[in-house]
């Protein structure tokens, strides 16, 4: 599969905006550095040519922006979707969160995105320039060093465990479509499951105690699109602005994960954005793994309109008391 180039995306975006297919383009905008791209809405070809960028750090999932963007004005919005993004896209459609008619979706292949933290861990801080060459990133720093690092070694966690290279929704596909992949995304979950109750408690206590309740995980999540979140609603019984007790960090993360259980597409944005580096995806994946085990394989967003496991049942479902029985 060919690597898609920034130029080809710019060309496509300009073409669609100029021929009137779309009136706006959601894309990545150049940042101060080569890795700090910002999602942006471009309204004309000039802007696109000047500021649109697609590189190894174009990780942000645009699906969620469609809710807000499709409510604005006339004309269609062009959105570029990596395979994982299409799952979120489909899930939002399933939940009627935006008007499909107002979107022109272009599927783009993806070979995985780099995690800047991993890059810095590998080659150090003070990065001035990152360029891509074949399967390597060339990193220049403040101190005049030029380091090379293999993209495969600095892939974001979600890309290492990529579940699918297949686009589940698009109007147009650039390049070839891939397949759903075998992956090891549940390995870490299993590792935790195999710990003792005490060890698991210690693990999560340590992780969750770092939470600063910035809500970034919620706000970036393409499944968390509630008009009013329960955590912002004083009447919900769980509202809180900051964590005043270790209970609250658990409450927040359990309910957050539970609310997206069966709807989470495992896009990994929550873990990507966490300023405290809490492995939030391990909570969501636990639900996905349990759902697969208890109710049969199900991946939210794979099929538009599919019935989420929590709004479904069979008469023979596992009993909750049995669901937690495991040898310890």
């Amino acid at each position: 599969m060919q690597k898609i180039t920034c130029e080809s995306l710019i060309e496509k975006a300009c073409e669609l905006i100029e021929n009137g297919t779309v009136s706006r383009v959601i894309g990545w905008k150049k940042g101060e550095f080569d890795y700090d791209l910002t999602p942006a809405v471009f309204a004309n070809a000039d802007e696109i040519k000047k500021n649109f960028i697609y590189n190894d750090f174009s990780g942000a999932n645009f699906s969620k922006y469609l809710i807000k963007e499709t409510r604005k004005g006339e004309g269609k919005v062009l959105v570029f979707l990596k395979p994982c993004d299409t799952y979120s896209f489909n899930q939002l459609l399933t939940e009627h969160r935006f008007d499909r008619e107002k979107v022109y979706a272009v599927g783009i292949p993806c070979e995985g995105m780099a995690d800047i933290a991993k890059v810095k861990a590998a080659v150090g801080d003070g990065i001035l320039k990152i360029t891509s060459e074949g399967d390597e990133l060339i990193v220049e720093n403040l101190y005049g060093d030029v380091n090379k690092v293999k993209l495969a070694d600095v892939l974001a966690e979600r890309c290492v465990n990529c579940k699918s290279k297949k686009h589940t929704a698009y109007d147009e596909l650039m390049g070839e479509d891939g397949e759903i992949l075998d992956n090891n995304r549940f390995d870490e979950v299993e590792k935790l499951e195999n710990m003792t109750e005490d060890e698991r408690f210690a693990f999560w206590q340590n992780e969750l105690s770092r939470c600063i309740r910035c809500n970034a995980c919620r706000d970036v999540c393409p499944a968390c699109t509630c008009e009013k979140c329960v955590f912002d609603n004083p009447k919900s019984g769980v509202e809180n602005k900051a964590i005043a007790d270790s209970f609250e960090e658990k409450m927040f993360h359990i309910i957050r994960a539970f609310h997206v259980a069966g709807r989470c597409t495992d896009c990994g944005e929550c873990s990507r954005v966490c300023p405290q580096n809490i492995p939030l995806h391990l909570l969501n994946r636990k639900f996905i793994k349990d759902i697969n085990t208890f109710y049969g394989e199900y991946q939210a967003g794979e099929v538009e309109g599919s019935r989420a496991p929590l709004v479904n049942y069979t008469e023979e479902d596992i009993e909750p008391n049995d669901a937690v029985k495991r040898e310890e």
Partner: protein, 664 residues
């Protein structure tokens, strides 16, 4: 802020015996919102209710908490009391300090503490209660009776008598049920057919009653006053309206080897048949499992001999959809299978029979034309052993049998024994019993007559084993009073098999969303005070589907159920349950989660224009609840991720307030 009154009931000593009611009412005085608190001997009494009414007026109460028995008992009572005093009836909450406190706890101190906690929880809830007004829904003035035995017949007749149309759905080709198979009825010994068949004819002739025989209920939707039922009319391959019931087809049909279920398989019928002479409707039915024409396409004798031209081999099952205001379950019973009772040799010897088979053997319309003959060799039996409690009163954990007493066996066995001795004085009749239970008008006198006048040998003890030896049945049993083991060479053994609910009851209960007990008998709304109603509104219980009972009891319950149905159908409108779901459109995402879990299809969506918090205007898809259809289960409230869906009367904030009050 609410102005709450707390009323603590002593329930005589039922509550006051374990709970210091004075302390409870004192403690609850300090709860937020409480402006008045008192206790009284019987809150549900007129005097008690007057205390509440007076307090509402005097203290300008906006909400009341009654600490008393279960809300399932008197919530309605106190709601009426509140309403009578001008307070919205949904401003009443009950703290269940009897069933869930005083009756299950023994220690005064901890019982009192718990009662206070339960009271606090109720106060916390009332603080968040809002007046609710029930919606109204129209009543379809037609009733459905499921089952056409004596229970169903009586219920249908009584409802029709009151002027309401009734449909009977019976899965067999004729109505009549078990009673049609009986010979005589205790304790009067009048013939079952003589008293039943006129009622069957009444049903057939009543223009308010429709009979769907050979039919089954397929699907039930809706709710009290507004049920929609799909009835499957199975193809009987005979045009019901054309068939004259002359019976020629049933005589000419060449397929003669069909076990006759009406005679408990003790003789055969044809593939086309009328179950018995007095069947209603008197229409032939072709049994597709045996009809050569239907199976191979070759035969057609019945069509040839039918002068009315009623035979139609192409008939298909038909689905009829009808609306009903009320549904009566009258699905009846069956004797349990004797397969697991090897010790009685039921499967080894034809001469070991069940009591229902015995009924057919002594019935003039039965396989032996009423002569008591052994099934094996047609000889007259001289020694007959009756075994009682076969499969009744067993241990709950036993693999075979039922835990309950089947209630009718003692009496019908006495009847059988008596009739046998009456007709055949040369027979020795033994009845093995554990207890003889004869509570009922003229019942014990009847049993005593069997012993004293007819010389039936009643032996206290149980039969341990029956073993066929030659043409005899060796019955080994204990005679507990003599402390002896008996060995009787019997010609016939009759087993009083336990009875169980018909197998169709369980799927029906599921369709009706009516609850059942562990034995598959329908549960009544209250064991004493509402014995003919199911907890599911609009569903009533008639006959043995609710529990074992004899004919007089069945008929009285059937009439009682009819009275309840008539009461319901006489109303033009029903007040709905106001505790229904409510969608906050400002918070709704339109995601459809609620719609997917709603069992009633009560949720619909609309695109509406909203002024968003950031002053923009957006068209959003939002959920709306049809209050007449919603039954208030609350499944949607949890499915909803944003909490836009809430349940009136059981609001999130109310439940949380209860949790907080209990846990503090």
């Amino acid at each position: 802020m609410q102005r709450i009154g707390v009323f603590v009931c002593w329930c005589g000593s039922n509550i006051a015996g374990t709970v210091d009611v004075e302390k409870v009412s004192e403690a609850l005085k300090n709860e937020p919102g409480v402006v008045f608190s008192t206790n009284y001997q019987y809150m549900c009494s007129q005097a008690g209710q007057d205390i509440i009414k007076d307090a509402i007026a005097e203290h300008k109460l906006t909400g009341i908490v009654v600490c008393s028995c279960s809300p399932r008992m008197h919530e309605a009572t106190f709601r009426k009391t509140a309403a009578a005093a001008g307070l919205n009836s949904y401003m009443v909450e009950i703290a269940n300090i009897r069933e869930q406190c005083s009756w299950v706890h023994k220690d005064m101190q901890s019982g009192t503490e718990k009662a206070i906690i339960l009271g606090k929880a109720a106060v916390a809830k009332v603080n968040l209660n809002a007046p609710l007004t029930p919606g109204e829904s129209p009543v379809t003035k037609r009733a459905l009776v499921i089952g056409g035995g004596i229970a169903g017949i009586q219920t249908a007749l009584d409802i029709a008598e009151a002027g309401f149309p009734v449909d009977i759905v019976e899965k067999k080709p004729t109505i009549g049920g078990k009673m049609a198979q009986l010979d005589k009825t205790f304790p009067t010994l009048d013939c079952a057919a003589c008293i039943l068949t006129p009622k069957m004819v009444d049903v057939a002739q009543n223009d308010k009653i429709r009979i769907f025989s050979y039919s089954e209920v397929e699907e039930i939707g809706g709710f009290v006053g507004n049920f929609t039922v799909k009835i499957k009319k199975k193809a009987r391959y005979v045009k019901e309206d054309v068939c004259t019931g002359c019976g020629i087809c049933t005589e000419k049909c060449p397929q003669k080897k069909v076990p006759n279920e009406f005679n408990m398989g003790m003789d055969n019928r044809r593939a086309v048949y009328i179950p018995f002479a007095q069947a209603v409707p008197k229409v032939a039915t072709i049994d597709p499992n045996y009809c050569t024409m239907l199976k191979t396409g070759k035969c057609g004798v019945c069509a040839k001999v039918c002068t009315a031209g009623a035979i139609d081999y192409t008939q298909k099952d038909e689905i009829i959809e009808e609306k009903y205001g009320a549904i009566v379950a009258a699905t009846g019973f069956n004797p349990i299978s004797m397969d697991k009772f090897d010790e009685f040799a039921y499967n080894q010897s034809k001469d070991v029979i069940t009591s229902l088979e015995f009924e057919r053997l002594t019935n003039a319309a039965g396989p032996t034309a009423g002569k008591l003959l052994r099934p094996s060799d047609g000889k007259h039996p001289h020694t007959i052993v009756f075994v009682q409690c076969v499969g009744s009163r067993c241990d709950a954990c036993a693999e075979k049998g039922k835990e309950y007493c089947s209630k009718i066996c003692c009496m019908y066995t006495a009847k059988h024994a008596m009739l046998t001795r009456d007709k055949y004085p040369d027979t020795d009749v033994y009845v093995f019993y554990i207890d003889v239970r004869t509570p009922g008008k003229a019942f014990d006198e009847f049993y005593r007559r069997a012993v004293e006048e007819y010389g039936v040998h009643y032996i206290k003890g149980m039969v341990g084993k029956v073993s066929p030896e030659g043409d005899k049945l060796m019955v080994r049993a204990s005679d507990l009073l003599a402390n002896k083991q008996l060995n009787i060479a019997a010609d016939l053994v009759v087993l009083a098999a336990a009875i169980e609910p018909d197998k169709s009851a369980r799927p029906l209960a599921t369709m009706l969303t009516a609850s059942m007990d562990t034995n598959d008998f329908f549960t009544e709304a209250h064991p004493k005070l509402r014995p003919v109603e199911s907890p599911t509104a609009g569903v009533f219980l008639s006959g043995t589907c609710q529990g074992p009972k004899d004919i007089p009891e069945t008929v009285s319950q059937a009439s009682a159920a009819a009275a309840k149905v008539i009461g319901l159908l006489a109303k033009d409108k029903l007040m709905g349950n106001p505790c229904v779901a409510q969608s906050n459109e400002l918070m709704c995402n339109g995601c459809s989660s609620c719609e997917r879990v709603c069992p009633y299809g009560a949720i619909t969506y609309a695109d509406k224009e909203f002024r968003m918090p950031d002053r923009t205007v957006a068209i959003r898809r939002v959920a709306m609840v049809n209050e007449a259809v919603c039954q208030g289960c609350g499944a949607c409230t949890v499915a909803c991720p944003s909490g836009a869906m809430d349940l009136k009367g059981f609001a999130t904030s109310q439940i949380i307030a209860e949790v907080d009050a209990i846990c503090k």
